[in-house]
Every structure is written in structure tokens, then in C-alpha cells.
Symmetry: C2
Subunit: 225 residues, 2 copies
DNA sequence: TGATGTGAAGCGGTTCACAGCC
DNA sequence: GGCTGTGAACCGCTTCACATCA
């Protein structure tokens, strides 16, 4: 078993495995091999075994993994043995959509507070949660035991909001504003950026057709991609 | 200049550079060096030069890059010289939030159609766009010249929706449902998964405090992370 | 036999370091 | 002098291949 640092890529895959195991458990399947799991995500089976090997030896040679056992292990590894209290900063479309989503779907993530700076939103209730003034974030974060903050404000305000969050002592941040954000070592910031994804799609749409791509003609030799 | 395949990581960064250049242009800055750009995203400056080198030589030695020129190059590279017509499947919270977002913010992405299977939603207007029955997707996709589809349906329906999209001949898909999806080589599928990101945060929250992580005691030697 | 766990090889992306040019 | 463009070194993740064990 490895004891070194676990890569983000590994933990992301663990989430995916866990979801799949939940489904398998529902269907009543009791064991699964790394190869079968790999096929579902077209991954390499060694990948999966290596990912799991970071945390222990969960399998049985010749058999595979017990669905139930592995599921419990993954839950524990990912810290999903308990719920997390979340505060969302930005009660606009995206912020409220996220709040709605986690109100409806039972997960380990519970939105307990919403913040905005717009006076017309402050005080309004969304999903039984009153929108608070972001000025009181630090106070409310402590009062409500917020452990994870979600930044859902316009791009230009995101940086300032992150600072507030860090000052409030929160160590985990999910940023859905279209800006790359970074914070001190001990604060984990993850970003999700729809526009980057869409631009990646537009790149592919506009580069696929021709294959040959118009560029500065540095070299005049014909070339292939 | 490199002519080999361009990695996804590179194109994602190009999006980030472009946004930054847009801001710089607004501020009136006329040139920027790779080192200055790198500092903003704490990247290595060689990274940036390499990313750009995939597409040409845009800089001037001793000076840096012209903000305006580089901006135009990046737009062209990313295929942002024109608009893209988008259809969203799933007119729930997330689907409509995305539609709203792109209705408000001027980008190269234009939501022109919304689809759902829920009769109570079909026919309703969201942002001047009538929600269509997803059964008619293929027809509507052609009629409306949809080039990019966004999957915003519940996880269990995502796979079937993707098949519909592929059958309609669409080559670019953004999936925001919490399932990993894959399609044929020529169809580009990008996924954005909030729950994976949140679980990555919970992993960090639950592993940071102790450093030493409780695992199967295979080896009994004390070890450090 | 069949599937795990894992060292070793392979591969791709990042960083270094410096030649080349303004 | 300063900054780009780029081969080479480096590093980390993935895949291979096989010893190991139920």
C-alpha cells in the first residue's frame, strides 16, 4: 500500500467508483472486479487497483472486491461518514440553483446559508434559507458551523469573496465563478468553470473539420496533424 | 512551433489567458510578458510560452506579447470568431440557470433551445425560449442549427440523452449531470461535476487534521505522509 | 484458474536552462 | 538587458506484466 500523497485525479476517480458501487449495491450485486469496474468508465484496471492501493488492500485475489465493503471504505476515505455544512455566497441564478439541487437530492452536503450583497435579495427566503448580507459572512460562518463555502458571484467579485472566506477560517472552497482562484496552502480551492468547458468545445468544433489549421506560416513545408 | 496534438490542459489554459487579456485590453495595457501572465495564475512562464508555441510565434523577444494581437490569435485558435448555438436538455434548476446565465452575459454561446420530458414544463417559456419535448430533439436540433448540447438531466437519464444527441449528429456535448459519459471518437464530451468537486473537498477536510490516516494496518511501522 | 497488488516501463506534461533575437 | 522559443531534464500518472494468493 502506498503512503505517499494521493493525487487529486485519484480522489476524483474514487468519487466515481463510489457512485457506481452505490448503484451496484442497489441492484444487489455483491462483488466486482477491477476489470469490470474499469470497463464502465473505460479506464485501465490497473488504474483502479492502484487508486485503491493508496488506502489499503480491499480486494480478494481470484474474486474481486466486495461491493458493500469497498463502498464503506470509499465513504470513509472520502470523508463521507458525516454531513458537511455549506454556505453559498451569491444568491443569483447559479447560487440558488445549487442550493435547490442540494435541498432536493440527499447527499452529504447540506446548504445551510446563503449570502449576497444585493439589498433586494437580502432577507428573502430561498428554500427556507434566508439570504444574509455577505458583510456578516465571518460571523454567520462561525455561528452556522460552515465548513465549505461555494463562490457563486460574478467573476470580478470572486477574489474579494475568497479573501472573506479565508479570513473566516474556512478551509474548503468551491468556486463556480469564471476566474481561476488560489489561496494559501492550507485552504483547498476547487474551481468549476462552464465557460472554459464550452470554449474547449468550440476549439474542437472549429479545429476538427479542417484538420489542417491556419497558422502563421513560419515553415512553408506541408505538415500533418 | 509544435504541430502535434494539442492537449486539453493547454486549451483550457488558453481560455484563461484570453480572459485575462480581455481585462488587460480594457485597462489599456498594450503588452505583457509570459512571466507577468504566469504570475497571475501561478504558472511557470515556460508553460505559457509552450502553450502558445503550439500555434505560432506570437511574441517579440525582449518585449513580450502584444495584448491585442495575442487576444485576436487566441480568439481564432479557440474558435471564438463566431457564435455557437446551444441546446440544453433538461429544463430543471441547473438547465434553466445555465440558460439564464448565457442570456444575461454576452459570450460566444447562445442558448437557442430547451428540452425536457416533463409535460408540465413543455410549452412553458424560459427567457423567451419555449421548452420543447425532448422527443423532438433530433428534428429541432437540425431546424435550430444546434452545434453544442448541454446535458442537464438527472444522472440516470443522462446516458440515454447522450445517445439522442449523438444520433442527431451533434459533435460537442457538455455534461453537467453527475455521471461520467463517453461517446464515439468524433463526438467531444466534456463533463463538469459539482459533486466530485465537493467530495474532493470533503476528502481534504477529513484528511488534513490528522495527517496520519486510519488504514488497514498492513505494515505496523510508523509512517508519515 | 482468476483476480489482486505492485515494481518497472512508458508516456505526457511541466520545468529548466539557454540559444536566439529585439 | 530582457524576453521569447525550445531541446533536454524532470516528474508524475498510466499501463504493462507478473508474482502472489484465494
Amino acid at each position: 500500500m502506498k503512503v505517499e500523497k494521493v493525487s487529486e485525479l485519484t480522489t476524483n476517480r474514487l468519487s466515481v467508483y463510489l457512485r457506481c458501487l452505490n448503484e451496484l449495491a442497489e441492484k444487489g450485486q455483491s462483488t466486482i472486479s477491477s476489470a469490470a469496474l474499469a470497463r464502465k468508465f473505460n479506464l485501465n484496471s490497473a488504474q483502479i487497483r492502484k487508486d485503491l492501493a493508496c488506502f489499503g488492500e480491499f480486494g480478494t485475489r481470484g474474486v474481486g472486491y466486495s461491493v458493500d465493503e469497498l463502498r464503506e471504505h470509499l465513504k470513509k476515505i472520502l470523508g463521507l461518514g458525516r454531513d458537511y455544512r455549506i454556505g453559498i455566497i451569491g444568491a443569483g441564478r447559479i447560487g440558488t440553483a445549487i442550493a435547490d439541487y442540494y435541498a432536493i437530492n440527499r447527499t452529504n452536503f447540506q446548504v445551510v446559508a446563503l449570502f449576497d450583497s444585493d439589498p433586494s435579495k437580502i432577507g428573502k427566503k430561498i428554500n427556507k434559507i434566508e439570504v444574509s448580507d455577505v458583510k456578516n459572512f465571518s460571523y454567520a460562518a462561525k455561528r452556522d458551523n460552515i465548513e465549505i463555502a461555494i463562490i457563486a458571484v460574478p467573476a470580478e467579485k470572486a477574489r474579494a469573496v475568497l479573501e472573506k472566506i479565508v479570513k473566516a477560517g474556512i478551509k474548503a472552497v468551491l468556486n463556480v465563478a469564471p476566474v481561476p482562484l488560489t489561496a494559501a496552502e492550507d485552504v483547498k480551492v476547487k474551481s468549476v468553470d462552464l465557460t472554459i468547458s464550452l470554449e474547449s468545445l468550440s476549439f474542437h468544433l472549429s479545429s476538427e473539420p479542417g484538420v489542417e489549421r491556419e497558422m502563421k506560416p513560419i515553415s512553408r513545408t506541408g505538415r500533418k496533424l
